[in-house]
Amino acid sequence: MNHEIAATVNGEQVQLTVASHHTLLRMLREQLHLTGAKNGCGSGECGACTVLLNDEPVYACLVLAAEADGAEVVTVEGLATADELLPLQQIYIDQHGFQCGFCASGFLISASALLKRNGRPDLDTIRAALAGNLCRCTGYGGIIKAVQSASRVRR
C-alpha cells in the first residue's frame, strides 16, 4: 500500500508517495537523498539514524515514513544554514568529535536537541542525553568535551 504524505523536512515542504512498510530512515535516504542519517543497526540501539521528529530526537529506523505525514523532520543536513555551521558543529570538527564519522550525524542531532533545551548541561546530563548514540572509534571523550564546549559558547 502506498501513502501520499506531506511533511516539512529541514524547513521545506515535501510531498511524497511512500510505501507502508518503509521507514522514515529509508524515505530520507532513498527518496530525499538526505544520507546524513545512517543505517547502523536497524534495531533502535546505535543512534546513527537519529533525526528530529517534531523537535524530538528519534530513531528514524523505528518510525514509518507514513507516520511522518504532517510532521516536521530535521536531519543533520538541516542543522547549519547555507552560510555557517552551528557552533556545535564547528567545535565538533575542531575538537575531534569524530574519526570515521559514521556516528556523527546522530550525535549532532542528539547534542543539538540537548543544547536547545538545556543551555548549561553538566557532564552527567550530556552523557545521559547521548546515551542512545554509540561510537566505535573515539571512546566518547572528544564527543562529550565538544558538546560541553559548545554549551559554553555564548549565543
Binding site: H21, G44, L62
Partner: protein, 291 residues
C-alpha cells in the same frame, strides 16, 4: 521488512473492528519501539499495522483530584515523565522510565505499548503494579476495566481478546506520604532491560499501620505483585525479623530462569539483595516520617 499495510482508523470502533477481523494478521502500532524491531528482524509478521496514536482516547494525560492520573495508551514515556504532577506524585514512574532505552526510545515508546508488549522484564509495568493501575480496554463488546495485576496472563501474554485494545490506564492517587523505592540490576549502560527489579510503595494510616505494595520484574514470566510478602509487612512498622521474612517470601514467590543475560541462581540471589535494600529504604523513610 516484509510489506504490510498501514492504517489510521478514525475512531476506536474502527480500530477494534479492524483488529477483530484481521486477528493475528494485524498489530496495533503505537510508538513502534518494540514492534518495528520485531518486524525488521522477522520475529514478528503482520499484514496490517493499525496506528492508534491519533485517537483522542489514547493521547490524553491528566490528573484528576478524585480519580487520579488518566494516561492514554499512546502517551510516550517522555511525555509521562515530564509532566510536573506525575514527577511529584508518582516518582516511581520517573525512576523506572529514566533507565528505559534512550532519549530517542523514550520519545516514541508508549505506556500502552510497553504494557501490551507484556515483557517479563519491564520496569514500567512493575512500578505501575505498585500504583494499583487500572487498565481501560475497548473491544467489540464495548468497554471494560481490569486491574493491571490481572492484565498479564503469562510470558508475553495479555488478557486482551481479539479486537480489543488498551485505550488508557488510570492510577488512583497514592495515599499521602507514600514512600517508594525502585531498585533494579542492569548489565552495562542504560537501555538494557532489568536483570532483576523490585519496586516498593508503602504508607502509614493514621494509626501508623502500614499498607505495602511490592512488585517484581525479570524473575517470573511477567511482572507481578508479591502478595505474601505484602501481607507479612502489613500492620505495624516491620522489625528486622519481619523484613527478613518478607525477603524470604519474595524469594519464594519468584521463579527466575536461566537466559543469556543471567542465570536463575544469580537472579534468585539478587532478588533477595534488591528486595532487602528496597524494603529497608522504604521502612526507614516510614519510620523517619520524612515528607
Amino acid at each position: 521488512m516484509q510489506p504490510f499495510d498501514y492504517i489510521r482508523p478514525r475512531n476506536l470502533e474502527e480500530a477494534s473492528h479492524l483488529l477483530a477481523q484481521a486477528g493475528k494478521r494485524a498489530r496495533v502500532l503505537a510508538g513502534g519501539a518494540d514492534l518495528l524491531i520485531g518486524l525488521e528482524h522477522g520475529m514478528v509478521s503482520a499484514d496490517w499495522l493499525i496506528d492508534i496514536k491519533h485517537l483522542p482516547e489514547t493521547t490524553g494525560l491528566s490528573l484528576d483530584p478524585v480519580e487520579g492520573l488518566r494516561c492514554g495508551a499512546a502517551v510516550t514515556l517522555r511525555q509521562l515523565t515530564s509532566h510536573p504532577e506525575v514527577r511529584r506524585i508518582f516518582p516511581l514512574l520517573v525512576e523506572a522510565c529514566d533507565h528505559i532505552g534512550s532519549v530517542q526510545i523514550r520519545n516514541r515508546a508508549t505506556v500502552g505499548g510497553t504494557i501490551c508488549s507484556a515483557s517479563p522484564a519491564s520496569s514500567l509495568a512493575t512500578v505501575l503494579l505498585c500504583y494499583d493501575t487500572q487498565c481501560h480496554v475497548f473491544g467489540p463488546e464495548g468497554e471494560r476495566n481490569l486491574p493491571l495485576s490481572e492484565f498479564f496472563l503469562g510470558f508475553r501474554l495479555t488478557a486482551l481478546t481479539p479486537g480489543e485494545l488498551l485505550t488508557q490506564i488510570v492510577l488512583p492517587l497514592p495515599a499521602r506520604h507514600t514512600k517508594t523505592a525502585y531498585h533494579q540490576l542492569r548489565i552495562g549502560s542504560a537501555g538494557h532491560p532489568p536483570l532483576v527489579g523490585v519496586a516498593v510503595a508503602a504508607s502509614l494510616n493514621p494509626d501508623r499501620q502500614g499498607d505495602w505494595r511490592l512488585a517484581l520484574t525479570s524473575v517470573a514470566p511477567h511482572p507481578y505483585r508479591a502478595r505474601q510478602a505484602e501481607a507479612l509487612l502489613a500492620g505495624p512498622l516491620p522489625t528486622p525479623a519481619t523484613l527478613h521474612e518478607a525477603v524470604d517470601a519474595v524469594e519464594k514467590s519468584s521463579q527466575p530462569i536461566d537466559d543469556h543475560r543471567a542465570s536463575a541462581a544469580y537472579r534468585l540471589a539478587m532478588v533477595r539483595v534488591l528486595a532487602r535494600r528496597a524494603l529497608e529504604e522504604v521502612a526507614g523513610q516510614l519510620a523517619g516520617g520524612s515528607p
